[in-house]
Amino acid sequence: MSFIVEHGPALAIAVPLMAAFATPLISRAGGRLRELWAVLCLAATLVIVVMLSMDVLSSGVRVYALGASIPSLTSPGGFPIRIVLEVDAMSAMMGLISVSIALLVCIYSTQYMKKYQGLDKFYALLLMITSAMLGLVFTGDLFNMFVFLELLSVSSGALVAFYMGRGEPAEAAFKYVIISATGALMVLLAVCFLYGQYNLLSIGALAGVMQFTFLDKIALVLLVSAFALKCGAVPLHMWVSDAYGEAPVPVTAVLVVVSQASLYALFRVSFTLYGAMATISVIGWAMIILGILSMFIGVTLAMMQRDIKRLMAYHAISQTGYMLLGVGVGLAVIGDVGALSSYGMTAIEGGLFHVINHAMYKGLLFLTAGAIIYRTGTRDLNKLGGLAHAMPVTTCFFIIGMLSIAGLPPFNGFSSKIMIYESVFMFSPVLSIIAILVSILTLASFVKVFQSAFLGPKRREYKDVKEVPVAMLIAMGILAFFIILFGLLPDLAVQWLIEPAAKALLNQLNYVGVIV
């Protein structure tokens, strides 16, 4: 038991990676064994990450030096060497949400992808995406972050192009991989600048000796814009609708969490690496402006879409704007102690809570869209209609997701949105009013989807549509259960998960002190 906790960071990355390489061998023995193997490996990873998170939330940052004789030997002789994995409360929160969504998507895709071929590669790549996400959030080393970022973009790009019968998925995947490769190369350039000056690669060690010269500012700009590109902030958002729209539905639900992992990297660089810079509030204001643009442009472009998955992809851009707005307000007032304690902390907590809530309700909405596509075979909203008669459980889950994304009580969207509204209002009322307006437009566009797809009389061409299989209903049901749970008891989530994460982001000295 303590073996798992002590070697937890490395085990959590290694287990899905080795399982991914073993999947094509195991799938020789049959399809059922392959799916069972994937689900069991992801469940084992979830157990490891849960135990690691409970330990980190109770006793502080856990550090792991790869290749050392004991795991906590990060600086033998006073100089930090070796690749260091460093797990604090924020990493634990992101790791939990990554593995949970990956496990639920794997359960869902046992039924959804049944009639396609090449499924051994699908499950291998899904396990590799999980490993790369965990590597990205658990690492404490900048070059290691670049390696896992590239691994993430390669494996998710391969899955975006899974349907090879049409040309559009390959085009979407080409655009996605070009954009991701360019962004990651800019990250590597920034790492080169930092390494050239200080001869260090660990984030904690760099934060201790950084002197914020002009080259450091160039490196900051490169890092921030590359990570904003990967998470889909406007005006760098144009790949999101293509990639999310043409990927298979389970892969889209995982791509949402991949974007949140890049958001984590953005916060880690701004708060922990450059947190002591005197003019960091410029980056905070940049995040606020990106957030406002994303919210507004995302939702207005979503209202005019005809394709159900592209519509939900634009809503993902819009909700990312909420997270950027919340954390940007916190970063903009980070120097002012009074404002930080009164509303800055709540703004950061609202933004981080929104990350978890968004992964859950966006995953649920994409899975219900997948249920519609599975039964009717079409994605066009103009052709759908009257499905609520035949699929009542899916309709119920869609209503839960729709009310949650619009921010209506008592679901979890409201809990995080009210934290963002009230704290941003104390910073600047105009931003809060724009946020509320975007919420109303979100509800309007989802009412349009609900009316087109579910309401209305039964149509002739869908008369033998039944309810979806049980595995898909289980995955959607678990997500809906957690949405209602976080909506009815939000203070438990905030007290046990979000507040430690926000404190860990702001507490730079704790992160640095474990390394040197």
Binding site: M164, R166, E246
Partner: protein, 112 residues
Amino acid sequence: MISLPFLAVMVIISIGLSAVIFRRNLVKIVMGTSIIASAINLFLVSLGYREGGVAPIFTGAPRLEMVLPTPQALTLTSIVIDLAVTAMMLSFAIIIYRHYGSLDSRKRRLRE
């Protein structure tokens, strides 16, 4: 004054970025990405140079000053990653050509 390798790196990165932004052929866009990656590999290797140092692989070394070995390890990792990404992008270009019949980036079906 900026030393020559760093200046060359900046020039090659701008050449690569302009290839990605201004070229229409999909294969040339992939080549642009590869050029940027080569420039950054050059930057990494040239960061480790120390004046008058020998290669860091000796047991009984002729001198004690050696060039830094860490950037060489980083460069090897980066070369391998760039190889995998380029291979994947070129295979996507082949699939696009098989379905659409052209490699022009302006002849696209997914817009807005």
